[in-house]
Every structure is written in structure tokens, then in C-alpha cells.
Symmetry: C2
Subunit: 710 residues, 2 copies
């Protein structure tokens, strides 16, 4: 009897105070328990190695009792889910969603048994968990003062990080030990337009780490909806804790039950390639509610854009004036003679797009207001419907249509989100009326509503509002300077890409480190597709004789690789048409490469060092591979074992020449054609700052005959 | 030669350092000069009595040099203007605009001769002046930290005031000496939903004063556009100074040249009636730019409204729940059984409106979201397009149209202006689609964008944005809880009325002092028409047996007088139809009274004591008079000398019975018909808290024969 009682108590103890859950493959183990004072805690291990040591969970409330301690467990539920789903566009046609879930109900006896839930989902590649606040008597509205989610790491990991900031994610990455972050924070906080750095040591997510015992750990969030973005405080002892983006009056989040936080995600593996292959974040997002998604399509595009940065021959603005109002008559401005978005010039781009099979042409600087759009915290900065006098909307609509090309609308808001929202329906109506089906949005500048931040709850809701409104008009959205993505492209598939990191434009504004793009897939791209705008062939920008001495810090071949290594269903060929005309053989890869995929194979990867990825084009027997390195040369190993067995294919390899590197002779490349099979393995040299790209297609018998095997 | 030089210096001194300008009738005299350190100053006198003693003018800039001192006068210009114009709707058909203008250009040698202008307009009844910032090299954008406009009064005047507040103007008036304000401020700051009182002693404008030497002085502002509303600091020595409403980050105003402040207005006379007759504020507003104003029409209306306050039988909300989201299915709510805006009930109101000649029926509580709309700082609070399940939009549209009645839309925002703006086009489209041509807007609650205030620059622009957008859809706007009006109904004539003060609803929420409506015409109504919602016949609210013990603190006859004393082209008959059915003879006045006028005659007035006004109906030989008193009885003297000479008219007099007063027997009234001519003078008794109303019409010969002469 005593024995039985003891067993019962053990069991009761387990139910009330500790729960252990494992991933379907048993590699990931979560332990949940309450501390002595009723504080929820969790631990995470991967293959018995500690990932997160005991860490507390809690939400501090501004206008009432907090959800921090005094909890008791009133219910726990477990279930295992294993399903497949198909994204509208993506890295693979079918995504498996396989996890073990633990749902814990916690009540606070001291607060009328008010209860919350913690939902944990253990995947084979990590953990997602969130706080849930069910609708109940006595809990309808509350204000989040701060979230206190800890991530107590097991050691002084190597980390690839950018500093915490409420307004920008366009920082360069620093690689250091966690313990070195406080000392490096100031240096890492380089000057960016409209920034609001967090004062204490902190990093942004996705935060990529590597432990001394060989674990790759990525912390981020999924499904950031109606809540501020989370940064991570870097506390002493390798402890991270959540740091939410406050609003204009210092509150973090306005909650109404039913409510939940975004998922806090920890992707973990002992293989770096698993991190890149992870679909954990997408799986934690909700399926789309859009009934019709037939109008959402991948886009390969060019644009009147890079010339604004480098060529010195054109400008967004039409007038010489530096003080304009939307109520002005812009036909009365003094033309500066260098306006880029003229009817004639856009027609040249349309011709080039049509000739080379691009879907669309982005045109920036088409609408009035660019003369003084930046830095003035000006609310009525653009109206999104009035073209400059030299941009003929109707003529271009007809011309583009006749060529089978779309024009991509551009809506720079200058951070004035209120102005954008009040004009949004009219802007989208204008797009519908004039044949536009996609828009690039921009948020350069301090936010209006003044006091709000790019990454706060209000703006988080704004971006989603824009995506949803756009869907009403069957418009696709590519947002720049928006909050870092969290997999919402699953739920809002017309939000097809974002910038939300330091992209190619910075190559013209100080340059990017050669390793930058070997880090981005492990950080920024964990959240979703990036409009990185690759494809710069003229990497030495002094070529333009515009006074600058910048260069794009890659070889030409590396730019080709980006079309595969940087996933996005929206891909730009960002360079000037004239430069593509100079290198037609290399340009062929950009013309050929797919932007939507049946499958993806992460062949090699190490954050900060290299990435090699192969992908199968959606619905086609074509495969494309991209490989990149950092500032060091290397030899990539490219297996073709994903190819159907027993069949020969033609591989075209675009590689750095032996004498190329990112600083010298970056345009020296070698293109070779060989026959490959599923048994082929390529050892491919990559130059310092270089890369390579491969297209694999079915060849005619004749073609195959004329080529050597790999 | 010495003499000549001296004369020249005197002249130069006059040009550089002092300017005196007089009103067309020479009664109002402005003296402008620079102080020794180049600070602009002005003085104002009326019939040689000091109104404003030497007071400084200046604008403190946040992000650069201020416009406070170091000025020199570089140019002055004078002109006299005398024109007439016709308002779309108004107290008189033709308004004379007659002033002498002094335009002073001031430059700052120490700031690259940057210059501003001060524009003064001297009318026979006062002064308007403003700061102007012309477009110039080196002055495009600046942020106003504070405006330093002084109004140094000449003595310890009697003042009718409400305390300074960034969010509400719904305070009860306090009458005191200026010197008593600091001690009374706390008591005067009664609790109001969403208030943000100014901490230092301050009052709101329009601020009405009476000097010991018999001057009536009113300080307000005109044409408040793209600038925050001004309150007045009450500094020692009867000195007032401007206090602007800050934004979320503590800035006052974002300016882009060309820019100007609103006009600061000082209406002055030795006759109180002149203050009420003043058109100075309207004259300082810009003419409308609307090309077509044919759709803007006066409106006499009833509404599903007062029953929410008093009758206890109906509610705005449909469901019993207190936690709803716009995404909820409202057909699944538990009906509370008391929803007011049901199809059947609104049809009853439509029937009553049609039978009694009303133009429209206001319906509040028609749309989903009222279950938890207040006090939660909830952004997505209403969508303005989704009716409750028991409100049939299409059926009511057809029914109202068949009866020749309009339904007035209601858009309560709960202060969530961002939510309203993002839905505005859709809301107005919905109105167009469903036959609505007027909307009552509401801003009950703390503003979103959070940190902004009802009276700040952002919201000032919001209200105007709503009016302009509404005009695109030919919709008239009646805003409640908006910033106090400043004559913008001239520029935006579809913004036909506002609440912006303590109106009739407060009779059901604690009551209004009997003198309240003798003050409002001198304060709130100086800015523009008020939707005061008069016409309460059942003044004793205990009648409804709903547990309250409130009463409307007037007699029934006084409620009739309001239709004349409280000018608005939008007038409600606010009581329940059943109460009008109980008093059909008194109700006849409400049915008869005009709401738009050819002319207005302010017969008697003393702020805080009494007001008697007569008006001629627009385009008709009908005249209506209203007279009210405070808590004291009085005998009004009503001359009919505005009537065409030599003709007899029938006057119907609706007066308090001898035994009536606001506390007891308020419903005792006497209706008499008499013959009047332009020579008639009526001595009319008014009960304590009472009033009277008179309609004057042409009578048939028979009618005239049967009546006694006055």
C-alpha cells in the first residue's frame, strides 16, 4: 500500500510539476515544469546535449496581475501530428508538418483561477512554443508590459548577430562569442537611416549560433501577428531573454482574449544543412484563408532601380526643388534633367524584359514627392496615384501589355504608414485600373504614427493590413524596411517577399562583407523569402565614373549563385540591361533559373563560410544549383544524387575563373557544359568571394553526344 | 538739416519699430512694435480702453533657431478690404468681410536673414493675427516646440471658462475672476471619459471675458488646419499665453513652408450682442474650394439615441457578451433583447419623421462592435460596414426612400482614428451604396495613434481629412468629441456641425447648469455650429423609472428656444417620439422652425444670464425667436423691428407658464397667438431655467382678424 501511494504521488508529481516530451524522432526533448513559486520553466536538449537550460516563461502585465508565477498546472494534453501541405510557392512542393505537442493549462489560484495555456510543439529539428490567453470571465483585455521568456544557453556559443533595434534590421553581421556581444555592441550599431538601437546588450532574431559541441541553434519567432517583434536581451551567463518593441507610450502589446503570442522558435541540429532545410517556422504559421490563390505567381523582374544607386545618370526625383507638397502643380517644377522613371526609359526596360523573358519591370520614382521625401518626418509625403509629368501611366500600361510584361508598382511610404493607410484603397484601385498586379512597398524613415517603431505591434499589424487589403485587389506585395519576416508568407501568400535585412543596395552604400550572404540564409531567410536583388555583373562601381569608389564584394559568378542560395519566389536581375548585354552567356543563367520549386537539397552549409544548394524547378525536369563562399576560396562538393536515376542530363556550370576573386577580376568566369547523372559528383573550385551556378536540363541525344561526362 | 534728420529718424523709427492700425470704424486700434532685442509685440485697444496690453509674439523651434527675437522689420504693408460673401448655410445669407490689414515682414539677421510674416486683420469687432512662414532658401521644415503668443489682459476680468485639456472640451463652465482660476482649476476638472488636463493653470478657447469697464472680450482661433489646438496658460498678472497640444513624442507642430499658424482671434465690444453677432472668425477662414455644394443641405432630424440614455429600454449593443472581435460571427451572439437599432424600431422612427416633416433619422448602434467599444483602447473596434443581425440595411434604405426620409449614418470611432482612416473609403462607399448622405462621427475614448490627443495636430488633420474624403462622396459630417471648431465650416461646408462641448447628453449624465446654454453661444458656438441636440420635452427623467434621478435642467419652453439660440444648420429633435405625441402643440414649433437663415438679430445677451435671438428663415417670410435665461426668471424685451414695415404678421408665442420653472412644473407652458408689426415690442416673462420661442408668419386676413394685437 505504501508503495502504491508512493507511485501515485510520483505520478501526480509528474502531472503537476514536470512534463517531458520528445520529438517524433526522439532527438529533441523538452522538459516543462513549475518552479516552487509556480513559475513555468522549460529545458531543451538535442541528442542529449543541452540546448536551453532551465529557463522561465512569463508575461508581465501593465494594468493588472501578471502571468509570471503563482501558477498551478490544471491540465496537460499531448498529441502527435503528421501531415503534409502545399505552399502556394516555395522551396518544395510539399511540406511535412510533423510534431509532438504538449499543451499545458496553467491557472493562478490567487487571481480567481484565471488561466493561460502554453503550447509546445516538438519537431525533429526543434521547438516552437507560445503563450495562449483563452477568452474567459475576468480576462478580456490586458496590456503587455514585457514578455519574460528566457533562453538560457548552454555555453558561450559562436553567434552571428546584429544589434537589437526597434526600427531597422539593415545592420551588417558580427561574428563573435556571446560573451563578446556587450563589448562589440556599440561598434556593431553602425549608422542606418531611422534607427532606434536597444540600449542594453541585445541581438535581433533570427539569431544563429554554433556551440562548441557541434550544435547549430537558431532562435526566432513564427507568426508575428498583433504583437511586437522580439529582440533578445543578452544577459550575463549566456542567457537570452525576450525584449519586445514598445509603442509610442511605452507599452508593448494590447491584447484581447482569445489571444496568443507569436511562436518562439528554436531550430536545432548537429548539421548546419538541417537549419537551412528546416520548415519549422512555416509549419507554425497558419494556412492561408484566401480562397483563390491562382493570381499569386512567382516573378522574375528587372527594374529602374540600380541606376539610382550607381550610374549617376538618373534620380527618383523629377524636380530640382527640395520643398514640395502633394498639392503643388508638379508640371511647374524645374526638371532636374535626370529623372529615371520617364516613359521612354521605362519602355526600354520593358523591351529588355520582353526580349529576355522577364515577367515584370519595377519602376521607382514614378510618382510625385521624391524631391524631399526623406528625413523630414513628413506625413503627406506621397499620394501613390499621381505620376510625374514625364511618366505616362496609360501609355506604359498599353505598351507593357503589348509586350506581355507587367510593371511593378512602387509605394515608398517614407515611414508614413498613416498616410499610406488612408490612401491605400485608392492606391490599389489605381493599380487595378492601370494593370499593375504587384507592388514594392518601402518604409525608409521614422514611422508615423510618430513614436511608433517599424517593429512594434502597430506596424506589425500595418504590414499585414497592407497584405490583406492588397489581396482584396489581387495584388502581390514585396515589402522593404518592414519588420523581419516570421513565415507569414504561408498565411498571406501574396506577401511574396521582403527585404528586412542588408541587401544588395548596401553594396553601393559602403559594401557588404563577402561572408554576408553565407550568413543571411541562417538568419534573415529563416523567416521567409528575401528580395535580395542579386545579379550585379558590373561589380566594380568605379566603372560608372560617378565619383564613388565602391564595389560589389563578389565575383560575377557568385551573383548567379544567389538565385539559388537566396530563396525567393520574387527574384530581381538588378543590374543595368547594358551590363547584361555585355555578358550574354552568363546572363543566360539568370534567364534560365527558376524561381519556384518542387524540391530543395541543401548540399553543404556552414554559417559565415559557405552554402551550396540545389533545387528542382516547379513542374519541370530542370535543376539549378548555387554555391557560394566567403572571402576564402574553397572547393565545393556537389552531388547530383537527387537526379532521377539512370538518365543523363546536360549540366551548364558557371564558375569563377582561376584568377578571379571578389577584389580583382571578379568578372572572370568559365562556363562549361558536361553530362551528369545521379551518380555524378562535382568538385567545384570557388574563388575568394566567389560562387558558382549550375543548370541541369534534359539534353537532346545529339547534345549529350557532344559533351563530356563529369 | 538737423531738424530734417530728426524727422527722418522719427519716420524710420516708426517704420522699423512701431505701427499703428485701426479698424474701419476706428474703434479697434492695434499697435505693433519690436522690443529692444527685436521681439515682436502688439497691443490692442477698443474705444481707447485697453484690451490687450503689450504682449510678445514668438514661435519656439525644436530643431533649430527659434522665431522669438533678433528680428528687424524689413517690410510693412497695409490694405483695407470690404467685401461680401455668401455661406452655403448660415445665420445670414450675406456676410460682410471688412477689415484693415497690416502685414509685417520680419527677418533675423543672425539667421541668414531668414524671415517670417505677421498678418494682422483689424475688424470693427476685433483682431485676428497669425504667423506666416514663407517658402525660402534655408527654411523648409521645422518643428514647433511651443508657441509663445501672449494675451496680457488689462485687468482681473470675469471669465467663463473650462480647464485646459488635450482631449476633451466637455467640461462644465466655471464663472470666476481670472485670478481665481488657479484655485478653482482642480474642482473645474471634473471626470470625463478620455481626458488629459493641462497641469498648469489654463483655460480652453473660446474664452469669454467681461471687464470691469464694460468690455466683452473673446479669445479663440480661426482656421485651425495642420496645427495643434491652442489652450491658454493663465500666468500671473492676468496674462494668458498660448499652450499648444503636443503629439505622442512631445512635439507641437510639424511645419513645412509655405506654412502659417491658425489665426489668433480677439473679438471685442462694449455690447455682448456684438460678440454673438460677430462673423470675424468665419471671415478669417478660407472660402470653400468645393466646386459643387448643391448637395450640402440643412437637416432637421430625429434619432434612435436619447432612449439609450434615459429610457432604459434599449442599448447600442446587440449581444450580451462583453468581449467581441470584428472577426466574430455576430449572428452567434446572445441577443440582450434590448438592442435599439432594430429594423422594426427604426421604421417607427422613419414613420414619425415622415409624418412630422423631419429630413432624417439618426441611427446609432446599427453596426457590430458595441459590446466592448469603450475604455479598452481597442484599435479594431468598428468596421463601419457590418450591421447587426437585426438591422436590415437594404430594407431600411428602401423604406426610408419610400417615405422621403434619409437615415443618418453613425460612425463611432471610439477614438481609434487609424482604424477609421484605413476603413474610410469603404465606409463612405457603403454609405453611397445604401442611400446615406450624412454621418455623425464620434471620438469617445483615448486616441489611436496612441499618444496622440483629440486636439493635437494629427487629429486636427484627421477631422479635416474625414470632411474632405466625405465631400468626395457627397456626404455631410457632424463630428462629436472632435476638436473645438474654428470656423472651418466655411472652408469645408459639408462639415455641417460638431458637438465639441458639453451637450444635451450630459443632462442624462449628471445634468447641466441652467446657465450653461447662456454661456455656450459666447464660447463653444463662436467657433461654429453645434449639434446640441435640444428638444427634450420629458425633462424629469425619473419618469422612465430606470433608477436614475436625473433631470434636464430646463423648462420645456426653453428647449424650444434652443432651436434659435443655438445656431446650427443641423438640428435634432432629441426626445422620444412618444413625448412629442404627448405635447403636439409645443411640438409644432420644432416642426415649424427653420434651420437655415437669411438674417439674424441678436436682441439681448449677457453671458451666463440670458440670450434672445431672432432669425429670418432662409428664403421665406418667416421669423423665429428664441429667448432663454439662467436659473433666474427675467422679462425679455423682444422688439420686432426687423419685420417689414407696415405689415401685420401672426406671432405664435411658446412661453413658460407662470408656475413653471426648471425644477418644478417644467412642462407647464402657454401658447398664444397675437398679431405683430415692425413696431411691436413684447415683454416676455421667462421662468427660472426657462425660455420662450416665437414663430412669426404671414397670416390670412381671416386669421389676422381673429387675433389680438400685441
Amino acid at each position: 500500500m505504501k508503495k502504491l501511494l508512493w507511485a501515485f504521488l510520483l505520478l501526480a508529481g509528474a502531472v503537476l510539476h514536470a512534463q517531458q516530451v520528445t520529438s517524433p524522432d526522439k532527438n529533441v526533448v523538452l522538459t516543462f515544469k513549475l518552479s516552487a513559486n509556480g513559475e513555468p520553466t522549460y529545458e531543451l536538449a538535442y541528442k542529449k546535449k543541452p540546448v536551453i537550460k532551465s529557463s522561465t516563461l512569463g508575461i508581465e502585465v501593465k494594468n493588472g496581475a501578471s502571468f509570471i508565477n503563482g501558477f498551478k498546472i490544471t491540465d496537460t494534453k499531448q498529441q502527435t501530428v503528421d501531415t503534409n501541405w502545399e505552399p502556394v510557392m516555395g522551396e518544395q512542393k510539399t511540406i511535412r508538418n510533423n510534431y509532438t505537442e504538449l499543451l499545458v493549462t496553467l491557472s493562478q489560484p490567487a487571481n480567481n483561477n484565471r488561466y493561460i495555456r502554453l503550447r509546445f510543439r516538438l519537431f525533429n529539428d526543434g521547438l516552437g512554443f507560445r503563450y495562449e490567453f483563452p477568452k474567459q470571465d475576468g480576462l478580456s483585455y490586458f496590456i503587455v508590459k514585457e514578455e519574460h521568456t528566457q533562453f538560457n544557453l548552454a555555453g558561450d556559443h559562436k553567434i552571428f548577430w546584429i544589434p537589437g533595434d526597434y526600427d531597422t534590421n539593415e545592420y551588417a553581421y558580427t561574428t563573435s562569442k556571446i560573451s563578446e556581444i556587450p563589448a562589440l555592441q556599440k561598434k556593431a550599431t553602425i549608422e542606418i537611416n531611422a534607427q532606434r538601437p536597444i540600449e542594453n546588450p541585445s541581438v535581433q532574431t533570427p539569431s544563429m549560433m554554433k556551440s562548441a559541441d557541434g550544435l547549430y541553434i537558431n532562435i526566432h519567432e513564427a507568426a508575428l501577428i498583433n504583437y511586437p517583434a522580439m529582440s533578445l536581451n543578452v544577459d550575463a551567463g549566456f542567457k537570452f531573454s525576450s525584449h519586445l518593441t514598445p509603442d509610442a507610450v511605452g507599452n508593448n502589446g494590447y491584447m484581447q482574449t482569445d489571444a496568443q503570442t507569436p511562436w518562439r522558435t528554436i531550430v536545432v541540429s548537429d548539421k548546419a544543412t538541417d537549419i537551412l532545410a528546416s520548415k519549422l517556422i512555416l509549419n507554425l504559421n497558419e494556412p492561408t484563408k484566401y480562397k483563390d490563390v491562382s493570381w499569386i505567381k512567382p516573378v522574375k523582374y528587372i527594374g529602374v532601380w540600380w541606376e539610382y544607386f550607381v550610374a549617376g545618370k538618373s534620380t527618383w526625383a523629377y524636380g530640382k526643388e527640395n520643398n514640395v507638397k502633394l498639392t503643388d502643380d508638379f508640371t511647374k517644377l524645374t526638371p532636374n534633367g535626370k529623372h529615371g522613371a520617364t516613359t521612354a526609359h521605362v519602355m526600354e526596360y520593358i523591351d529588355f524584359a520582353a526580349k529576355n523573358g522577364f515577367d515584370a519591370v519595377l519602376v521607382e520614382g514614378w510618382n510625385v514627392g521624391w524631391e524631399d521625401w526623406i528625413g523630414n518626418w513628413k506625413e503627406e509625403v506621397f499620394d501613390f496615384v499621381t505620376p510625374y509629368p514625364d511618366f505616362d501611366v496609360k501609355k506604359l500600361q498599353a505598351y507593357a501589355a503589348s509586350k506581355g510584361v507587367k510593371i511593378i508598382m512602387h509605394h515608398e511610404t517614407s515611414g508614413s504608414a498613416t498616410n499610406y493607410e488612408r490612401r491605400l484603397d485608392r492606391a490599389f484601385e489605381f493599380m487595378n485600373d492601370n494593370g499593375y498586379n504587384a507592388v514594392k512597398t518601402g518604409y525608409v524613415g521614422s514611422i508615423i504614427p510618430r513614436g511608433e517603431h517599424h517593429d512594434g505591434q502597430w506596424m506589425v499589424n500595418h504590414y499585414i493590413h497592407v497584405a490583406e487589403r492588397a489581396a482584396d485587389y489581387k495584388i502581390m506585395v514585396n515589402s522593404h524596411e518592414a519588420v523581419r519576416p516570421t513565415g507569414l508568407n504561408r498565411t498571406y501568400p501574396n506577401w511574396i517577399a521582403q527585404e528586412s535585412a542588408r541587401g544588395t543596395e548596401f553594396e553601393a552604400m559602403g559594401g557588404l562583407a563577402p561572408e554576408h550572404t553565407t550568413i543571411l540564409p541562417f538568419t534573415r531567410l529563416m523567416g521567409g523569402p528575401m528580395d535580395y536583388t542579386p545579379g550585379i555583373f558590373q561589380t566594380d562601381l568605379t566603372y560608372y565614373k560617378t565619383g564613388g569608389n565602391q564595389r560589389v564584394n563578389t565575383t560575377l559568378a557568385k551573383q548567379l549563385a544567389y538565385y539559388v542560395t537566396m530563396y525567393s519566389p520574387l527574384q530581381m536581375a538588378a543590374d543595368l540591361p547594358e551590363n547584361y548585354n555585355r555578358f550574354p552567356d552568363a546572363f543566360q543563367f539568370i534567364k534560365d533559373v527558376a524561381v519556384d520549386w518542387d524540391n530543395t537539397y541543401v548540399l553543404e552549409a556552414e554559417p559565415g563560410d559557405y552554402v551550396t544548394i540545389a533545387r528542382k524547378a516547379k513542374g519541370k525536369n530542370e535543376w539549378f544549383t548555387g554555391g557560394i563562399t566567403d572571402e576564402n576560396s574553397r572547393t565545393a562538393t556537389v552531388a547530383f544524387d537527387y537526379l532521377p536515376k539512370g538518365k543523363k542530363y546536360v549540366a551548364t556550370i558557371y564558375a569563377d575563373a582561376k584568377d578571379a576573386n571578389w577584389k580583382e577580376k571578379p568578372q572572370n568566369y568559365v562556363i562549361t557544359k558536361v553530362v551528369v547523372t545521379s551518380k555524378s559528383v562535382l568538385k567545384q573550385y570557388i574563388a575568394p568571394g566567389g560562387g558558382f551556378a549550375i543548370s541541369v536540363k534534359e539534353g537532346t541525344t545529339e547534345e549529350l553526344k557532344g559533351l563530356k561526362s563529369l
